[in-house]
Amino acid sequence: MVGWRTGTVAVVVAVASVAVGVPDAVARQAADPCGGQGYAHVVRLYRRGGARLPLRCGTSTWGYRHITHRWSADFDRRIALTISRGVVVQDVQGDGGTAIYALFDRRCKELFRVIYNGGAYRGHDVRPQGIITAYRRDIAHARLAAPSRRPCAVIQDI
């Protein structure tokens, strides 16, 4: 009986050890959605009308890996709002693919920008390439407010 109990305890400890390990693995996956993933792996899909725009893992130059240092739940929400409700400048390269999505406040001050390539990354594969980068253009706004309903122009103030 003692032996059985010892064995049972051992099994319980072993199961507990595994159980402790699983949440750690899940936490690691959640912390780095691109850990062990290739550049084509889709991290998020953002909606604009009926379209789904991907954020792929990418490389250090584009995609999630390019913006990972900015990433947070708030940043994720800003991307979602900008894509779903923002102003879009299409066909930036004249090839039908690249677009800039911009979120404005009620005074047409640009708050957030997402630059996107709807074309393919390699040949006809990895299409669309997806979000290249995203960033806040105005750091004064601490929280997201309702986006502008007025038509605001996307301007590069260089």
């Binding site: 066909d91 004249g94 074309g119």
Partner: protein, 104 residues
Amino acid sequence: MAAELPLPADELARRLNEALGRVGGVRMRVVSAGMGGTSDEPAVRFRVSVAEAGMWDVAVPMDPLDLEPGVNTSALVAVLHANLLEWWDLKDREARIARWGRAV
């Protein structure tokens, strides 16, 4: 040994300038382009002219994967265009971005 641009430098500059010109108010022009860095840590180097802000040298760090021959040149141009806009917008706020460029 430095990596190579997958397309001629003057073509890259021309295509970037076309893209830059499609966003209202943009007055950044790519004057020249070329490769820098190493094969492990390549960078695409630009000299850009910014209206009322003068000339800047910008080195956009690249992942070697993005310079492979299989990558569409349109995708490369899109990435570099986006990175140039990002650099200008964030150079005063993000240190890692600011390191890319310096005023000439």
